[in-house]
Symmetry: C2
Subunit: 725 residues, 2 copies
C-alpha cells in the first residue's frame, strides 16, 4: 500500500519568464557568487554537523561516566553487603529515567525524530517530502533524545541520528531561514528550491556519516548509494569536501577533549579502535563466506521479527503515552537482562585482560572481575571496541553466547520504539559477539595458528550482521574500513557484506526499506520493474486532468484549487479537437504547466490583469515565488474579495512553457527513467497531436513494484490509500 | 572546434514491436539469467584485467632487471677503464630500441593505442564512440607497447594503459565476440547494445584502476567521476565487485611471483610502499596549502607546455614515421640527461642509505654510491617509492633539484608521443622530487622536529603535482590513500588536491580535457552552461530534417541513406498542416524514430511488404538487429536488385514509437539535462502540434561551451568541422 500523504519534491526547475528575467539581469558574477556560496554552505554545514556530533559524543561519554561510576559504587557495596536489590533498582531507574525523556521527545515533541533517521533521509534524497524532517525542532529532539537513549542503556547507537542531524543542518543553513523560529535571515535566497536544497541535504548526510564514523569517503559513498540519481561531478566534490571538513572538525575537537590537542591521527578517534595488523590467509575466505551466509540469515531473521513487531506496533501502539510505556518497559527489561547476566554468569577473568573502564568484581576473587559485567558496564559502542580488541581469553564462550542471544532480541525489540535511536551499533555488537564465538571455535580447532584472531572474526561477524540487516555494500565496506583504519582488509569485508546481502535478499528486504514500505512512502526503485515494457503511459496515467487556460478567471482558479489536491495543472489551448481522432478524451493542446504554489502566490499578491499596471510597475519577479518557499500559502491564507473573483489572471508569464511530456504509447520503463533521472514531479501524457490526455505522478509509477522472494519474482500493483489518521 | 567524425553512443533503448515480442516470450527467469550473466561478465573482466596487469608488471620488472643489471656491469667496467662512452652508448641503444618498438605499435599498428588511454576511456564513458578504442588489437598493442615504453627508460607509467586494458577487456568479454578475429562465440548476445556495453566498460575501467594501483575503492570512484551520469546502485555494486576481484587476483598472482604466495597484504604489493606512521600536526596545513598552490601552478605550466607541444605535433608531426623518429629522439635525450646527471653530479652516499636495486658506485669512494644514478637506475615507479621512503640523507638537495627540472620537461615532452604510455607515474615522480625538496627545506628550518619527514612531503608534493595536472580530486585522493595504505592522511591529501585543482583551473584545464578538446571530441560537460536559458531549442536544432513515412518505398530509403550521414530519421505522418500556424516549417506529425542501423538491416534482409509472407514466417526478431551490432552494414554491403527498389517497407513494427521530444521553446539546460541524464543520441524538436520541426544531436549541444580563465567566464560557440584527413 502507498500512502497518499507523501508529496514529491520537484527537482525540475520552472523556466518561465520571471526566471529568464532574473537570469538576464545577472551576469557571470552571479554564477560565481552562487558557486562560492555553495561551497560556503557546505563548509558551514560540515562544521556544524561535526560540532553537533561532538556535543552528542561528549555528552554521552560524560553522562555515561557518571552513571557507571555511580552504579559501580553501589554494586560493589551491594556485593559487600549481599543486598543486590539496591544496585538492581538503581540500574533500572537509571535506565528508565533517560529513556522516558527520550520517548517523550520522540513521541510528544517531534514524532519524526524517533527512529534512526536514515529511512527519512533516504526518502528525502529519493525525492519524497517527509513532513517536518528537516526542521530545527527535529534536530534538537533528535540530538537530545539520542543522548538520553544511549544513556538509558538501551541497545541503540548514535550514528543514525548524527546522519539525520547533518541533513537537517544542511537544509537549515542552505535556506538562510528557519521555520521553527520563524526567522528569515535573508541570505542564500537563491537556494530556495527543492533542487538546491536536496543537493545540500545529500552533502549534509555525507557530513553526518563522516562525523558519526570518522569515515569521509564512506560518507560520500553513502550519499551516493542513497541519492545517486542526481549526481554530478561538481556536487561530488562539494560533498567530499564537506565530509572531509566534518571529520576534520570532529577530530580536532575530540582530540582536544581527549587530551591530545592537534593530534588528528590519534587512534582513540577511531570509533572501534585501530586494527594494526589485520592479516589473512587465502583459506580464511571459507570461514568468511560461511560467516557472510550466517550474517545474511540472522539479518533476515532480525528483519522478519522487526517487521512483525512494527506491524503490531502500527496497530496497537499508536498513542504517544503507549509508546512511552513501551520504551520504559524495554529499558526495564534491558536492565533486568543485564543485571541477571552479571548476577548469574560466573565468568571471572584476571583484571588486566579486561578493557572495561568500570570493572566490577561481583562474586569473583580478588584481582578478578566479572566478564559479563564488563560487556554491559559501558556504552554499546565501547562494547564493540572491547569485542574487537580484547585479548583472546577475556570471555568464556558461554558469556558471549548468552549475551548474543539476549542482545539480538533486545536490539530487535528496541528498533522501532518511539525514541531517537540508531541501529548500526547494536547490530554491529550482535555481529561482533557471534563473530568472536566463531573466532573462539576456530581457536579450538587450530590452536597454535597465528592467523586465528578472535578480534578479526568479531569484525567480520559485525560486518556480516550489519550487511544482513541493512543490505548496503559499497558504503558500508568503506565505512568499516575507515572505522578500523585498515585498507588491506577491505576485500574480505566486501565479500562478507555482499554474501550477507545476497542471502538476506533471498528472504526479505533491508530493514530501512521495510520501514519505508510500512509507512507507505512512495520511494522510487533504482530501475523500472523488469519486463514492464508492455505497460503503457495510457494505463499508468491519471485521468481526467484538471486543466487551466492561458488566461483564466480568478473564481475558476479558486474553485479548482479548492476542489482537488493536485499540485500541478497543465495549461492548455481552449479548443479541444474533434473526439474521433483520438482514443482518449483530449483536454486541449498542451501549452505548459503551472504549479499550485505559483497559483497561490499569484492570488495572494492579486496579480490580476485588472490591476496589471500596479504590479507590473512594482516588478513581479522570481523573488516573490522564492520568499514563501517551501511552505506556500494555503487557500485560507489568501483573502479575496467577491469582486476579485471576476478578475482574470494571465498565466503566460508564470507557467513553465516546456514541461516534459510523453505520448500515450510510451512504455513504463521510459517514463520511469525520465522521473528517476530528472527528478520529475509531474509528467504530462499527450496524444499524437500534443493534446493533454493524462498526467503521471510519482505514485502512479511507484505502485508498480517488483517483488523477489525465495527465488520467485513478480510484478505487483500497490493500492494508494488516503491516510486518514 | 568540434570534429564531425565522432559519433555518439546510444544509451536509449528502442522499444519497438520486436523488442516487445522478445520480452513477452521471456519470463522472469530470463531476467535472473541476464542478471547472473552480468555478474559473471564483471568477474571475468576483473580476472582478465588483473592478469593482463600482472603480465605487464612482471614483464617490466623482469626485462628492466636484465637491462639495469647489464648496464650496471658496463658502467662499473666503464668507470674502471675510464671509458664512459661505452655504457652511455649502450644505455642510449637500450632506450631507443624498445622505444622504437613501442612507437611502431603506437603509430603503424594501432594509433588509438598511443597515449595513456584515459582520455579515450573518458570519452567512451561520456558517450562518444571513439573508433577502434575497445578492440583486441588495441589491447595487444597497448600492453606490449607500454612494456616497451617503460623498458625504454622514458618518463612514462603503466597505469593509464592498464585502465584502458580493463575497458577493452570488458567490452570484449561482454559482447561474446571479437571483431579483430572475426569470431562470434554466440554468448551474451543480449548485451549487444550501447547501453549494456557502456556499463561493462565502466566496470572494466574500474577494474583497471584497481589493478593498476591496487585501489578498488579508488577504481569505483574513478568510474564514477568519469561516467557518473548513468549510475545506479546495481551497477555500482557490480563495479565495486569487479574492482575488488581485480585487486584480489592481482595480489594473488604478484604475491606468489614475489615469493610470498597467499600473503595478500604483503606490503610490497603497494605500488609506492606502505607509510606506517603518517602523522601530521595542524600547523602543517600551512605548508600543505602552499604546496597545493605550487602543484596547481606547476600543473598549469605542464599543461600549457603540453598544449603548445600537442598543437605543434598536430601540425608538423602527423606521419607515422615522423612520430617514430620523435619517440626515438626523446628516448635518446632521456638517456643523455640521465647519463649526464649521473656523470656530472658527484653526490655520494653511503651504500646502505640507498634503496636502489642496482647501486652504481661511479666515481664515489668504496662503500659509497652515486645518488643521481640511484634515481635513474630503476623504473619511474620504483623511483617514486625511493623518494617516498628513502631516509633523510639519501640525496643532496641539488641532485633532486636538477632531477626535478630535467624530469619535468622530459615528462612534458614525452606525454603525447605516439607510444602507449601513462602520465600518472612521471607526474607523481616530478611532484615527489619537489615535495622532497620542500621537506629538506623544512628540515633545515626545523631540524629537530619529529613531524618533519621528507617522505611525507614527497607524497604531498606528488599528490599536488598530479592534482595540478589531471585535476581529479575524489578518486585521486582515494587512489593515493589506497596506494600508500594509509587512511588518516586522507584529509591533507584531499586539501592539497583540491587547492591544486582550483589553482590550476584558474589558468587552464586538465591535461586529459585538453587532449580531448584538441581532438575535437564532442564530450558533454557535467552541467549545461550557466545562464543559457535564453537559448531555445529552435536555435539549437538542425533543420531541415530528413523524415520518412510509416510505409516507405525502398528506393526512397536507399536514396536518403546515400544522400546524408544522419543516423536517426523521424517517422512522420505524411500531411503537414498548413504553414501559417507555426513559425517553423513542419515536416509532419511525429510518429517515431528509426535508426540508420535498423534501416540497413531491413534492406539487407529484404524485409519488404512484397515478400512479407516469407519473412513473417521466419520470425523477424530482435536477434536480427543484435547480431550485426556494433558494426552494422554499410549501404554497399546491401545488394538490392532494381526491382527491389519499387518494393515498400512497413516501418511500423521497427521504429521507436515514443522517442523523447521537446517543444521549440525549450531552454538549452533542459535539453542538456535530457541528453546527459538519459544518454540520448537524437532528440526531436516539435512544434505545439507535435509536428517535427527540427532535430538536436550531441554536437549541437556540446558546441555551446563555457570558458573560464583567470577569473573570467563566458559562453562560446564551437565550430563543427568535417575531418578530411
Amino acid at each position: 500500500m502507498l500512502s497518499a500523504a507523501y508529496e514529491s519534491l520537484d527537482y525540475d526547475t520552472c523556466v518561465n519568464s520571471a526566471w529568464l528575467d532574473e537570469e538576464r539581469t545577472m551576469g557571470y558574477k552571479y554564477v560565481v557568487k552562487k558557486d562560492v556560496a555553495r561551497w560556503l554552505v557546505v563548509l558551514l554545514t560540515a562544521v556544524l554537523t561535526a560540532l553537533v556530533a561532538c556535543v552528542i559524543d561528549m555528552a554521552i561519554e560524560c553522562l555515561s561516566g557518571y552513571k557507571y561510576t555511580w552504579l559501580k559504587q553501589y554494586t560493589d557495596y551491594g556485593v559487600a553487603t549481599n543486598l543486590m536489590i539496591i544496585p538492581f533498582l538503581l540500574w533500572a531507574a537509571m535506565n528508565i529515567g533517560p529513556t522516558l525523556l527520550a520517548a517523550f521527545l520522540g513521541s510528544y515533541i517531534e514524532p519524526v525524530a524517533a527512529g534512526s533517521g536514515i529511512p527519512q533521509v533516504k526518502c528525502y534524497l529519493n525525492g519524497v517530502k517527509v513532513p517536518r524532517v528537516v526542521r530545527i525542532k527535529t534536530l534538537v529532539s533528535k540530538a537530545l533524545g539520542v543522548i538520553m537513549s544511549v544513556l538509558g542503556g538501551l541497545a541503540v547507537g548514535k550514528e543514525g541520528p548524527m546522519i539525520h542531524s547533518g541533513a537537517v543542518i544542511a537544509a537549515g543553513v542552505s535556506q538562510g531561514k528557519t521555520t521553527s523560529f520563524k526567522h528569515d535571515f535573508g541570505f542564500f535566497e537563491y537556494f530556495r528550491e527543492d533542487h538546491e536544497k536536496r543537493d545540500f541535504v545529500s552533502a549534509g548526510a555525507a557530513a553526518g556519516v563522516a562525523a558519526a564514523f570518522g569515515a569521509p569517503v564512506g560518507g560520500v559513498l553513502f550519499s551516493l548509494e542513497e541519492g545517486a540519481s542526481f549526481w554530478n561531478q561538481g556536487l561530488t566534490w562539494r560533498v567530499f569536501f564537506g565530509a572531509m571538513m566534518s571529520t576534520f572538525t570532529l577530530n580536532l575537537v575530540l582530540s582536544a577533549y581527549n587530551g591530545f590537542p592537534g593530534k588528528l591521527n590519534y587512534n582513540g578517534l577511531l570509533n572501534f579502535g585501530k586494527f594494526d595488523d589485520l592479516t589473512y590467509e587465502i583459506w580464511e575466505f571459507i570461514p568468511f563466506l560461511l560467516m557472510g551466509v550466517m550474517g545474511g540469515l540472522l539479518g533476515a531473521l532480525y528483519n522478519h521479527i522487526n517487521l512483525k513487531l512494527t506491524a503490531f506496533r502500527m496497530r496497537y501502539i499508536q498513542k504517544p503515552w503507549q509508546k512511552i510505556i513501551e520504551a520504559a518497559v524495554v529499558a526495564f527489561v534491558t536492565a533486568v537482562v543485564a543485571f541477571l547476566m552479571m548476577y548469574l554468569i560466573h565468568d571471572c577473568r584476571a583484571a588486566d585482560t579486561q578493557s572495561s573502564e568500570y570493572p566490577i568484581q561481583m562474586f569473583c576473587g580478588i584481582g578478578e572481575e566479572n566478564a559479563a559485567a564488563a560487556i554491559w558496564f559501558q556504552t554499546p559502542e565501547r562494547s564493540v571496541r572491547s569485542l574487537f580488541h580484547d585479548t583472546s581469553d577475556s570471555y568464556h564462550w558461554s558469556t558471549i553466547g548468552v549475551f548474543f542471544v539476549c542482545y539480538f532480541f533486545l536490539a530487535c525489540w528496541t528498533y522501532g520504539l518511539g525514541i531517537p535511536a540508531g541501529l548500526f551499533i547494536p547490530t554491529l555488537l550482535c555481529g561482533a559477539a557471534w563473530g568472536r564465538l566463531v573466532g573462539m571455535l576456530l581457536c579450538l580447532f587450530f590452536p597454535d595458528q597465528k592467523w586465528v584472531d578472535e578480534g578479526k572474526y568479531a569484525l567480520v561477524g559485525a560486518g556480516a550482521m550489519l550487511g544482513g540487516v541493512v543490505r548496503m555494500t559499497l558504503s558500508l565496506t568503506v565505512i568499516l574500513m575507515e572505522c578500523v583504519g585498515n585498507i588491506t582488509f577491505g576485500l574480505p569485508l566486501m565479500i562478507v557484506l555482499m554474501v550477507a546481502k545476497w542471502v538476506g535478499d533471498f528472504f526479505n528486504e533491508g530493514i530501512y526499506d521495510i520501514h519505508i514500505q510500512m509507512q507507505g512512502v512512495p520511494i522510487m526503485a533504482w530501475d523500472a520493474p523488469p519486463l514492464s515494457n508492455n505497460i503503457y503511459a495510457s494505463e499508468v496515467m491519471n485521468r481526467p486532468v484538471v486543466t487551466l487556460k492561458s488566461v483564466e478567471r480568478v473564481g475558476h482558479i479558486v474553485n479548482i484549487l479548492k476542489a482537488n489536491t493536485y499540485n500541478g495543472f497543465p495549461v492548455v489551448d481552449s479548443i479541444p479537437t474533434s473526439e474521433n481522432v483520438c482514443y482518449f478524451k483530449s483536454f486541449g493542446t498542451l501549452r505548459g504547466v503551472i504549479l499550485r504554489s505559483q497559483l497561490t502566490v499569484l492570488l495572494k499578491h492579486k496579480i490580476f490583469n485588472e490591476n496589471a499596471e500596479v504590479w507590473q510597475n512594482s516588478k513581479v519577479d522570481i523573488h516573490l515565488f522564492r520568499i514563501s518557499y517551501p511552505r506556500y500559502f494555503t487557500l485560507d491564507e489568501v483573502d479575496l474579495n467577491p469582486e476579485d473573483m471576476n478578475c482574470t489572471v494571465d498565466l503566460r508569464p508564470f507557467y513553465n512553457p516546456s514541461p516534459y511530456s510523453v505520448v500515450t504509447c510510451t512504455a513504463l520503463p521510459r517514463i520511469f527513467n525520465l522521473f528517476r533521472a530528472l527528478g520529475l514531479r509531474h509528467l504530462i501524457v499527450v496524444n499524437d497531436n500534443n493534446e493533454v490526455v493524462g498526467m503521471v505522478t510519482r505514485k502512479d509509477l511507484v505502485k508498480y513494484r517488483i517483488w523477489k522472494h525465495r527465488g520467485q519474482m513478480g510484478l505487483e500493483e500497490l493500492v494508494i490509500y488516503n491516510n486518514v489518521s
